[in-house]
Amino acid sequence: MAADGTPLLELEGVSKRFGPVQALDRVDFAVRAGEVVGLVGDNGAGKSTLVKAIAGIHSPDEGSIRFEGEEVRIKGPQDATDLGIATVYQDLALCDNLDVVANLFLGREQVSTGPGQVSRQLDEVKMEHETADLLSNLAVTIPSLRSEVGTLSGGQRQQVAVARSLLGDPKVVLLDEPTAALGVPQTKQVLELIRRLRERELGVVVISHNLVDVFAVADRIFVLRLGRAAGEFKAEETTEEHVVGAITGVGDGGDKNNQHSDEGEKA
């Protein structure tokens, strides 16, 4: 399934240290267009740090990042967005005091073309219209686009967050625990959504604890353990057992010298 050719996004030898904690240790990682990569690992394995390095939240200490074959430096979230990398965080990062439309367009508000342009006047009508179109394409139902996000249910908030990542026409979408805290039908919807992203030839990275969900959508599974790459599997050719082995370090490819601990990602 994985497309050949140059990866959309390629990390080489990326390291990140928080004080005494080596959160990422020379990690190589890649994602191609039309491919869903499952990023798995135990708590503190460095999954979130890896995603934050790509998203520009924490710049890596060492290593290089290539986007569409060209070396890039991602110094802030805006750099990542400009390249076409969208991120959906575990804590969603929505503004509860703003409505659905405002949250969807946060940081890339549509500005009206009339005389209001001078003051960067918001084009609310256009934004609301595009929001309605996008959400209906994704089969997301929200009671009112003008309701504050703080009033929505957890599932609705997750759907708003995923929908938001698609607005800027990204090439790579990073999803941090997209199915955590969701009910069964909503999880199904989100997984369906992820398959639709792959059909659009996007590169998708899914972080998840839930191996069932990962196997349901991922083409390739990338395992991190204590900040290091601990194995890479094609989803079709492997079993959950193998992956669990790599995650815990008991099976092949694991680093048996290190104790199984919680250090790493939380700094």
Partner: protein, 404 residues
Amino acid sequence: MSATEAATAEETGERRPTTGETVRRIVQGDLSSVRVVLGLVVIAVIFQVQEDRFLSAENLTNLMLQITTIGLISVGVVYVLLLGEIDLSVGAVSGLSAAVMAVLSVKHGWNAYMAIAAAVAVGAAIGCLQGSLFSRFAVPSFVVTLAGLLAWEGALLQVLGKTGSLNITDPKITGLANIFYSDTVGWIFAAVIIGVYGAALAVGYRRRVAAGLGDTNLVSMIVRFVLLAAIVIAAVAILNSDRGVPLAVMILLAFVVGMEYVAKQTSFGRHVFAVGGNAEAARRAGIHVNRVRVAVFTIAGTMAAIGGVMAASRLFAVNQNSGGNELLLLAIAGPVIAGTSLFGGRGSVWTALLGALVIGSISNGMDLLSLSSAVKLMVTGGVLLLAVLVDAVARQQRQTSGRV
């Protein structure tokens, strides 16, 4: 609602809010402003019963003039509150800026407009400095602006020098608070305000209908328009029956409307709300959080300076007390009384005007009753506490009903 509209709404998968939701939105969202207006009515009734000069045209005109300084300063304070921060220096900044203007105008013979521009520039520079310190070094805004409060008050004494007081004679400066327009000009203002508001509503409505967003409530729009027109006509009629519409009130209104537009309709205003609601989310969305913070504190300093200029114009002087006393606390209390949250992300610039009206009415009414400033301060404190308590209860209710 035409059939085509309904069809479009269904196609786009958008559901219309039910009547229950609309009622809830009004009750929980707009209740604060309704509450303040009711409070104003109660205050007016109480004072009118005690002293029938309270609602006279002359006294209402005085009231409007009395609130201009606090109102102007509060406009900037609202922005700081929207961030969830506080600026304790606005009083001192208003005094210092006014002193700079007075010294340049009186001692150095500067042109009035140049002197005013210099005062505003001083306020903006101070706000920018404090905002930069706050955002660059992550020092709590409370501390940065508390230091500012002390330092700028010292600077005020320094600038005024030995005399400690400067009388302003330039009519261009004193005119700001003392010019009244003729009846005709007053009615022209009224017509323009009503016309522009009506046009803005109509254009907005037509655009929404054209885009197939049919959930706009035409009735509520008409009600809003009629209400605004009634208030404007009544206000101009009252002001005209005394000395006429004051320039100072028009200046205050212009800033309130202008800054409300910036807060609610521009991408900058949207970013202010976002940073106040969830700074980390704003940062991840690519908003330059620190730039927004510096800009907001610059606005607060600028508005403080403009308020200070207005105060000096009303008093015909700047003295060591300028910007002192309870001015700072009232300028912060006003928007909070009128419903702007102290915790950021919720509020509107209108609360600057409404809050100033509440505080101004109480102060004005008690002056008419010749109550001591001891009583005045205690009552104002009580009203602030009451307003915050009512707001806290409303917030708890929102939380229990699932609104954060």
